[in-house]
């Protein structure tokens, strides 16, 4: 069980140093630093508007930070000379509202990156896409268009799309927040399997059951900074900051202890 023990973790794969981001007058990130180790699952929690999504977007430069640096292994992502497309191909991103390509089938959604970015042959890309869709339980839906899928199915296609690229890590931006309650489980199940299979991931989520089950570390963010970081046991049982405990109680009250096990 990864829960709480960090012995299975490898070297540092992602390093974030003093990230700042401002949109107009609002400073969203006020100096965020963190380290992610190979095989680690980090869950980021915190009230809305505290910069959790912005943090993820600043990591793969979908938003460009005003200040601070990010390294993937020994490559500085934030360096102007770095080929950002090459970096992004190694970092999966799963969006809250899926962002599947609306005009393409599930299969094409998953194979497109392989064709265009990895330059695989169409036969190989399609085979790989089928494999990934089967892995998230959607072998029967390869020819469906996004509009023909449920929210949970869409999110699983988008996870397959990220997985197909063989990413070094995956960033999940509130992957279950846009889903109906009864569809959350099927997505969490896929994510739990990934985490247990050793995938490196940062997950912004309010799913405390998920966090408890698979997080190696939980980060509590508020007001554009990291307030507390620790193992689930540390954060759930004896939060050093009173604010973290308060938030955890409130979240548990609101969302319940949904766990996708």
């Amino acid at each position: 069980m990864p829960n709480g023990k960090e012995t299975h973790l490898g070297d540092v794969i992602l390093r974030v140093e003093d990230l700042h981001k401002r949109y107009g007058k609002d400073e969203i990130l006020k100096g965020v630093s963190l380290e992610l180790r190979r095989g680690e699952t980090k869950v980021v929690i915190g009230p809305s508007g505290t910069g959790k999504s912005t943090l993820l977007r600043c990591i793969n430069q979908l938003s460009v930070p005003d200040k601070g640096r990010v390294w993937l292994e020994d490559v500085e992502i934030t360096h102007a000379r770095t080929n950002i497309n090459h970096i992004r191909a190694q970092i999966g991103f799963v969006f809250q509202d899926f962002n599947l390509f609306n005009h393409l089938t599930a299969l094409r959604n998953v194979s497109l990156g392989l064709l265009k970015v990895k330059k695989m042959t169409s036969g190989a890309a399609e085979a790989r896409a089928r494999e990934e869709l089967a892995r998230v339980g959607l072998a029967a839906k390869v020819n469906s268009f996004p509009a023909e899928l449920s929210g949970g199915q869409k999110q699983r296609v988008s996870i397959a799309r990220a997985l197909a690229m063989d990413p070094k890590l995956i960033l999940f931006d509130e992957p279950t927040s846009a889903l109906d309650p009864e569809l959350i489980g099927e997505v969490l199940e896929v994510m739990i399997q990934l985490a247990r299979g050793g995938m490196t991931m940062i997950v912004v989520s309010h799913e405390m059951g998920f966090a408890r089950a698979v997080a190696d570390r939980i980060i509590f963010m508020e007001g554009g900074g990291i307030l507390e970081e620790g193992t689930p046991t540390e954060l759930f049982t004896c939060p050093r900051c009173e604010r973290t405990g308060q938030f955890l109680r409130k979240i548990t009250e609101l969302y319940g202890e949904t766990d996708g096990q």
């Binding site: 992004r88 191909a89 970092i91 962002n99 609306n102 497109l112 970015v117 268009f145 509009a147 690229m165």
Partner: protein, 236 residues
């Protein structure tokens, strides 16, 4: 000669003039589509000075009557150039540039109607901006653009009638104009034929807009993808 025979005698040359109208239409659509798409992309993705330039162009060509644009190019620009330019080229350029201004708005609207998350998802996979535009934005924008583009098509079919002011270019309308005077001199039967003759001229244009729109509707159906249809239709 019976009235029908006289009428037919005057209709036959219209078939002869039809290729000229079709040629003008085809060329102006090529000019309008190419330039329109380029202008749309600059407006959607270009830098500010370029965008302002495009907006200026679009305002200019949307604000002047097509007939005036043709006169400007044929009677103003061409003689000043000093080299003979074929009338058909002048016609296609003048009308094409006007149509490009309208088409740029159609394509810009369609590009902007594609949700921002589509570009973000494409870029997050490591696709370049160009790749994302080509594989993700364009195919969706193109589908959204077909209905308004069909509208513009109908509009330019009728614009081609203005090329009758270009000397030596005998299109449908010019050919009909040439037959009106002789008809009106054949009293009384000739003058009575003017009305049906003009109806027939109108039918030629109607056939062009009708068949073109039919083809576009077919294209729209062929490219139909679930999710791009009207959602949440009220059934009663």
């Amino acid at each position: 000669m019976t009235a029908t025979q006289i009428l037919w005698q005057n209709v036959v040359p219209l078939f002869g003039a039809l290729p000229v109208t079709l040629e003008v239409l085809g060329l102006l659509l090529v000019v309008g589509l190419t330039l329109g798409v380029v202008l749309a992309f600059v407006q959607a993705y270009g830098r500010r000075p370029l965008r302002i330039l495009c907006i200026g162009y679009e305002q200019l060509f949307r604000g002047i009557p097509p007939l005036v644009v043709i006169l400007f190019f044929w009677n103003g620009v061409t003689p000043a150039l000093g080299v003979p330019v074929p009338g058909i080229i002048v016609a296609a350029l003048a009308l094409g540039m006007r149509s490009a201004a309208y088409q740029s708005q159609i394509f810009r609207g369609a590009i902007q109607a594609v949700p921002a998350g589509q570009m973000m998802a494409a870029r997050s996979l490591g696709m370049s901006r160009i790749q994302a535009i080509r594989s993700i934005i364009l195919p969706q924008a193109f589908r959204l653009a077909i209905p308004p583009w069909a509208n513009e098509y109908s509009s330019v079919v009728k614009d081609t009638a203005f090329v009758c002011v270009i000397g030596g270019l005998i299109d449908l309308t010019r050919q009909a104009l040439m037959k009106l005077a002789p008809l009106s001199m054949r009293r009384p039967v000739g003058t009575q034929l003017i009305l049906p003759y003009l109806v027939i001229l109108g039918l030629f244009y109607l056939a062009l807009t009708y068949s073109g729109n039919g083809l576009l509707a077919l294209l729209e159906r062929r490219l139909r993808v679930p999710g791009f249809e009207m959602k949440g239709k009220v059934e009663r």
